[in-house]
Structure formats: structure tokens, C-alpha cells
Amino acid sequence: MRRLWITLTWLVFSILILIPLVVLTTGAFDEGGEGFLQALGRPEAMHALMMTGMIVVVVTLLNGIFGIMMGIYLVRGNWLSRKLRQLFNSIVDLPYAVSPVIGGLMIVLLLGPDTVIGAFFENIGFKVVYAFPGMVIATLFVTFPLMVREVMPVLQEIGTDQEEAASTLGAYSWRTFWQVTWPSIRWAVIYGTILTVARSLGEFGAVLVVSGNIINKTQTATTLVYQDMENFNVTAANGVALVLAVFSIGLLLLMERAKKRKEVL
């Protein structure tokens, strides 16, 4: 009986994760190393990977800053009533519950060229939807809870005592944050960052809706994979997908190492 369960578990694990990885790798190299490099060397592939890279950097930075601030305000913001904070707290999780495609759609409906806000930005020469800013907003929407949810429990756990102690010793908020709060939440922020990077690397639905998937302009690595598949260009799709997969696996390994280091401290 026990053996059966072990076999079954391994089977599910293999079908879900191991076999696709193997197929992905062999698929990427079925025209040899040259085919793989050729697939990646295409201008649209280079552009898409660069687009993804830029989104990852910008989104991670913004999510880092605003996620930490949101976490601090939700835990420490005594100027808001408790009920209001609870409400905001549950709204933070909205992106988990809503499909990314719907998230993307909301952004198009709100900031698209036909809307008041969208038209305003268009007039001052700042295109939001079907351009880089919209893609950043869409990815931010999807990744927003990740940082907040990592930081909040740690802030709750450390409490305000140390910060209050710092204030009675003459330190103002900036110094208190960097010397007292930051060392405590540092590891939570690192996890949040890794999760954010991984999620923005792989985001598809929201970005597809907002970007319009315009080749060499607003195409990201994931939407390129999608297009290559549509065009039956399987080798190219596998190649780009493999690059994404390798990055993600690398991140996960990094996170494991980070966890171990935290345990030592």
C-alpha cells in the first residue's frame, strides 16, 4: 500500500514537472545547439527577452518600495481605523483571486486610448496601454500581494517596541527604519523579491491583454512563446521557454539557499 502511494506520487510529480522539463529541453535542442541559438538569436526573440528583463527590473523595484510601504502602513498605520485597515488588507489579495486576464482587461478599460485618463496621457505623449508602462502596471497588479504578504507577518511579529526604543534614544524615522526595522524584515524582502521576479518572468495573461502582443515592440518572452506555438515554430518556442525555465529554477535554488542562511543567523 505504502509503496503504491510512493509510486503514485512520483508518477504525478514526473508527469507534471519532470517530463515536461525533459521534453522542453530536448525540444529546444532537436535541431542541435545551432537551432537553439538561432531561435534565440532572432531579433524578435532578443527584443522579447529584453522586454521581459526590463519589466522584471522595473516591477521588482516598484513592488519592493510600495510593497514594503503598504505592509508598514497596514500593520503600523494607526491613523487608519482598524476596520479600514482590515478592508485594505483583504483587497491586497485581490490579484490572487482575480484572473490575470481580467486584471489586464481592467487596466485597458481604465487607461485605454478611448478612456478619459488614457486620452489625457496620450495627449501629453505618454502611451500607457499597448506600451511599456501598461505592461509594467499589469505585472505590478499581478505581483503586488507577494511582497506585502511576506513583509506583513514579520512586521507584526517584531512589534513596535524596538522602533519606540529607537525613538526614545533620539533616532528619527529614517534612521530607525534602516537600522532597526530593515535588519528584521530583510529576509522577508528578499523572499518577496525572488517571488516577484519569478512571477513577473512568467506573467502571461495580464500582459497579453495590455500589450497587444506587437512583435518587436510590446512582445515579452512568454507572449513570444505563445506566438511561436501558434505558428508551429516548436523549436523556437521550446528554446525561449527553456531560457525562462532555467531562470526560474535558478531563482528557486537561490531562495533555498537564502532560507538556509536565515536559519543559521
Binding site: D161, G170, P183
Partner: protein, 354 residues
């Protein structure tokens, strides 16, 4: 620093935490804020520190109102109940924190930290982290850290609450001596009356947000100004009908007056131990509790049950034994006032003729 508080008031939502509290503290004094948990002591302390803003009222340091000043500018040291040490900093860095904020020269910081480490007996522990220290050592670090920037006023919130009984005793004496040596005005919060009596120059009794009484421990014990203070300080039994006891049957005691009698106001024993039998009541021993250094005796006198102590040197009483009970004095109170009544039969009538 001379501290004055006028009509301090604070609400937390519906809860009236501090109600019209006024007091002043002379420079260099060590004051204990004593009262039951949830009585508003910590709120008063936090308002003095600027960690909480008062609903109304004035806080005056050195003759200047400091209500608008943030904690950073009040020149105070604060020792938190659970010490709130910076857990990722070594003992050295914890103590040096307030000095670094002041942008003092590195050598001066090192010198001052060394001085404090010696003063608090932490030599050799400078490079440890808080989680590597015992409770007593953490308390010393918290204390050294609060003293480092040379504050004018030291505030301590239940400084001994988290330490086990044996070490608490040592730390109390240590703290008292240290504060005396540094000469800093200090206020500490406690719910433990022994601690307040032992450590403080003056005690303020706080109950349900009100200041009940302020005075030296001896004054408060001798002359409690409210029934709450009388029952909170020391041990006592409440007697509903004091008029029934011998020696308290006049005094103009009205029916509404109730009495509070401390164990040390009562003497108990067989008839031959008393010189003035006329002043004593008869009672029956109901319970004997061995309290290590003496017996605690519960004795029934009429409908009242009194508690007193009896020395181990005297004959041991038996449960059920008839004994004589002498009540020296009682603290009487009704709804409006309170006073102390001595046993009127105690004055030796013969002495008049000699």
C-alpha cells in the same frame, strides 16, 4: 529634571485610561507608579515619554511644556517591559545606538560605552547578541542603553516583570543603588507593592486611571487616604460591622462605616499573654497556615473572620482553640470619608492613678 503633570487625561476609544492626573516630582527622586494591571500606569509613563499623546492636560519638564515635543527631543531614557533590545545588534552597538544618533566622536562613544558596561557589570559581554544573554543581563543592557545619551529623566515600565524571583531581588537593590549613584530623576511602573515599597522614594498609587495617593511608602502605609489604597498596600481583612468589636463600639461609629484591619494590628493568644484582658475579644482559631517564618492564623470573632500572624517562638495554637484577640486599631471608612480608630479600652486605666 523637575517633572510636573497637570490634569492629564487620555481616552482609548471608549476606555477612559487616565483621568485628570496631576503631580510633580522633585529632581533626583525615584518614584514608583503602583497599581493594579490595566489601571493606566503605563499610559501615564508613555505620555511622559511622548510615545502617546495626551487627550488633554500638560506635561512640564524643567518649567517648559513638552506636549508638542516628540520622544526624540524630550531627553528621556525609557526601559521597556521586555527590554526591546535591538536583536540584531551586539551589546556594544545597543548601548552605543543613542550616542551614534548624537553624532559623537567614535573614541568618545567607545569610552562612554566602556564606562556603562563596567557600571552595569556587563564586561566581557560587549560582543554578544541579546539572544545570548540571560534575562537579568538583558535588563542591564536595556538600562545601560537608556542611560548612555545622559537623559534627564529615566522611565522604566515594569522593569523586573520578566525576571525570576531570586534575581529580581538582587536587581532591585542594584537598580536602586545605580540610580542613586547616577542621580537621575526616575519613574518606574510596577504592580508589585513590595517592589515599590523597597525601591521608591515616593509612591504614587494609580487605580482606574486616577491618582489615589502620592507619598513615601511609610506615609501611605500609615495614613492611606482612600479605602482602595488601604486595601492595596499591605494585607488586610474587611470587617462589615466594626461596632461589634470591643474597643470600637463608640467613636460615633455609624452603621454605614466599614473597617479594614491589617494582620499586624491584631494580637492573638491564650488569656495569660495579655495584660489588659478587658480590651480583648474571645475568638476561636479556625485555620492555621504555616508561612515559613511564622504562622498565619484565621480566627473567628463573633461573625467576623480576622487574619493575623503569630511568631513561631510562642506556643503553637490549635485549630478550634478558644483564644483572646486584641485589635489595636482599625482603618474605618464610609462612602465619603475615612479615618483611623484606636482601641479605646487599650489605655491602661490604672496608669492614671500612679
Amino acid at each position: 529634571m523637575h517633572v510636573e503633570v497637570r490634569h492629564l487625561d487620555k481616552h482609548f476609544g471608549q476606555f477612559h485610561a487616565v483621568q485628570d492626573v496631576s503631580f510633580s516630582i522633585a529632581k533626583g527622586h525615584l518614584i514608583g507608579l503602583l497599581g493594579p494591571s490595566g489601571g493606566g500606569k503605563t499610559s501615564i509613563l508613555r505620555m511622559l515619554a511622548g510615545l502617546e499623546s495626551p487627550g488633554s492636560g500638560e506635561i512640564i519638564f524643567h518649567g517648559k511644556t513638552v506636549n508638542h515635543l516628540p520622544p526624540q527631543e524630550r531627553e528621556i531614557g525609557f526601559v521597556f517591559q521586555n527590554y526591546a533590545l535591538f536583536k540584531h545588534m551586539t551589546v556594544f552597538d545597543n548601548i552605543a545606538f543613542g550616542l551614534k544618533v548624537k553624532k559623537i566622536r567614535k573614541e568618545a562613544i567607545r569610552e562612554r560605552v566602556r564606562e556603562l558596561v563596567e557600571l552595569t557589570g556587563l564586561s566581557g559581554f560587549e560582543h554578544r547578541y541579546p539572544h545570548q544573554l540571560s534575562g537579568g543581563q538583558r535588563q542591564r543592557v536595556a538600562f545601560a542603553r537608556a542611560l548612555a545619551p545622559e537623559p534627564q529623566l529615566l522611565l522604566l515600565d515594569e522593569p523586573f516583570a520578566a525576571i525570576d524571583a531570586k534575581i529580581r531581588q538582587e536587581l532591585r537593590t542594584w537598580l536602586r543603588e545605580l540610580i542613586e549613584r547616577v542621580g537621575i530623576t526616575s519613574i518606574f511602573v510596577t504592580h508589585d507593592q513590595d517592589e515599590a515599597i523597597e525601591v521608591a522614594d515616593e509612591i504614587m498609587i494609580i487605580n482606574s486611571g486616577r491618582l489615589e495617593q502620592k507619598g513615601t511608602p511609610w506615609d501611605i502605609y500609615k495614613q492611606p487616604s482612600t479605602p482602595f489604597v488601604a486595601s492595596f498596600i499591605g494585607e488586610s481583612t474587611i470587617v462589615e460591622e466594626i461596632g461589634q468589636l470591643k474597643g470600637f463600639d463608640h467613636h460615633g461609629i455609624t452603621a454605614s462605616a466599614r473597617a479594614l484591619i491589617r494582620p499586624e494590628y491584631i494580637e492573638i493568644g491564650p488569656a495569660h499573654e495579655f495584660r489588659l484582658l478587658s480590651a480583648t475579644e474571645t475568638g476561636i482559631v479556625r485555620h492555621m497556615h504555616f508561612r515559613g517564618s511564622q504562622w498565619m492564623v484565621e480566627v473567628e470573632v463573633g461573625t467576623n473572620r480576622l487574619i493575623t500572624y503569630r511568631s513561631l517562638e510562642k506556643d503553637t495554637l490549635e485549630v478550634g482553640q478558644d483564644v483572646q484577640v486584641l485589635v489595636h486599631r482599625a482603618y474605618l471608612f464610609n462612602d465619603n470619608e475615612s479615618w483611623i480608630a484606636e482601641n479605646t479600652l487599650k489605655a491602661d486605666p490604672l496608669s492614671v492613678f500612679i
